[in-house]
């Protein structure tokens, strides 16, 4: 394990930024967001960014290819480019876990090359959560906020930042800043881990469990009468899906530029009425079906296809952002029954 004094953090950022684009969470209007590090940019102390870190690998909008059309002819232009190396610093345990969930979608055959190339070039430096929020429930999904995954795990104390490489990529990055870090023992980190674990136990949502959910439960919940009430006031906006680190549905659309056609992919939301709309009708006709799809996908369908892994990381973003304060915790508690209370 290595450590670096917080006063030297800017130097470390400068060193990293020499070889790769470095993104860190920065405070701004409306909350923290990941921004490109430049001289003078200060890291945010916020627990989490408003948008999740999935943007780095699965951006809200990206061009897939272009076309030129002339008369009856079409020319297909594959303008994919080698991505640049980049480092994302300060990703929380929940968001790091979300990459694993996205990987299972985008890196399964056939591999999504857009996602894969970003994943290959990105180095994740995670940061343990010193002060989890009341909306956090990552523990529910077996995530340890005190010990996040990632290429490098970092712990921040009052004075120092402790760094531990978990992968080859991480080792490489650590060695790049070895001149300003020093070897150290893990005492301070152990101490912090204990503290964090103690806080996690105390959090109001620490008793939420996934016991009642998982693979093979489709029949049990699909026709539950609870969906009517749960979804009855859903606005059908896309806030929950767009702030969610694990929502990965996308749309592919064409944009006619003045020269040709750009085919792009953008985030889509199963909460939107046109998500499944076809020329002859809609297989999910009302908001109830759309709402059900979102939560069934996270709690049942995804586990069905991914060895029981849930597609929620308990980051709590939907809890804070939903305009009507409806969220996965309320869904789990309602469907799961009393035991979950």
């Amino acid at each position: 394990m290595r450590k670096i004094s917080l006063s030297n953090l800017d130097k470390a950022f400068a060193l990293i930024a020499e070889n790769a684009k470095l993104y860190i969470p920065v405070d701004g209007k409306g909350g923290a967001s990941f921004k490109l590090w430049q001289e003078g940019v200060k890291m945010s102390d916020a627990l989490n960014t408003v948008r999740s870190a999935k943007d780095f690998f699965f951006p809200q909008m990206e061009t897939l290819m272009e076309f030129k059309t002339e008369g009856k002819n079409i020319e297909i232009i594959d303008n994919r480019q080698e991505k640049e190396d980049f480092v994302v610093f300060g990703v929380r345990a929940c968001d790091v876990k979300s990459f694993e969930i996205l990987d299972r979608v985008f890196l399964s055959e056939p591999v999504d090359s857009y996602y894969a190339s970003r994943r290959e070039k990105g180095v994740i430096v995670s940061l343990a959560c010193g002060r989890p929020s009341e909306t956090c429930f990552c523990k529910t999904f077996g995530i340890d906020a005190a010990n996040p995954a990632g290429d490098i795990t970092a712990w921040k104390t009052e004075t120092d930042l402790y760094l531990l490489a978990n992968t080859e990529k991480g080792e490489k990055l650590l060695s790049a800043i070895s001149s300003i870090t020093e070897d150290c023992d893990g005492k301070a980190v152990e101490e912090q881990k204990k503290q964090i674990s103690a806080i996690m136990e105390k959090l109001p949502l620490s008793n939420v469990t996934t016991e009642k959910f998982g693979a093979g439960k489709t029949k049990e919940y699909f026709d539950s009468p609870a969906w009517d009430e749960l979804s009855s006031h859903c606005l059908g906006c896309g806030t929950c899906t767009f702030v969610c680190p694990t929502c990965q549905c996308y749309d592919i659309k064409d944009f006619k530029t003045n020269e040709g056609v750009q085919r792009f992919r953008c985030w889509d939301s199963c909460m939107y009425s046109d998500f499944t709309l076809m020329a002859h009708g809609n297989s999910r006709a009302s908001q109830k079906e759309r709402f059900r799809q979102r939560f069934m996908h996270k709690l049942v369908y995804y586990p069905d296809n991914n060895d029981g892994m849930f597609s929620c990381v308990g980051c709590g973003r939907c809890l804070t952002k939903c305009p009507i304060s409806m969220n996965i915790v309320k869904v789990m508690k309602t469907l799961g029954g009393k035991e979950n209370d």
Partner: protein, 144 residues
Amino acid sequence: MQVNEYKPKIVAFCCNWCSYAGADLAGSNRLAYPAEVKVIRVPCSCRVNPMFILRAFQRGADGVILCGCHPGDCHYTSGNYYTRRRMALLFSMLDYLGIEKERTRVEWVSAAEGAKFAATMNDFVKTVTALGENKRLEDLRCKK
């Protein structure tokens, strides 16, 4: 020597009954106005939805002008009165967002005012040329 003179792209929405005829008259009277002005005929100035104006900018226009019958002379009695309110609010909003207010304009041009049409266009093109390219309401995808 190559002269790289900036020529703005101007979209002029002209009402079918007055301003389009005014543009016609300007043509038949051989009154010159810049070729950068692309005229789009609309049944009434009131047909112009605020979205049309924004999309003209998106597609690369540097200035958008809307011409209709003089207030009181609308072929449909009151269309241009609504236009007047809508555009007043829209232009004020564009200004509020920091978009140059000189890029948008409404003029009332009757079928008899060929000269006014040409003069208006000349003046508008001059104004927009002085402003230069539209950078604040542009869609980069359309600017390759």
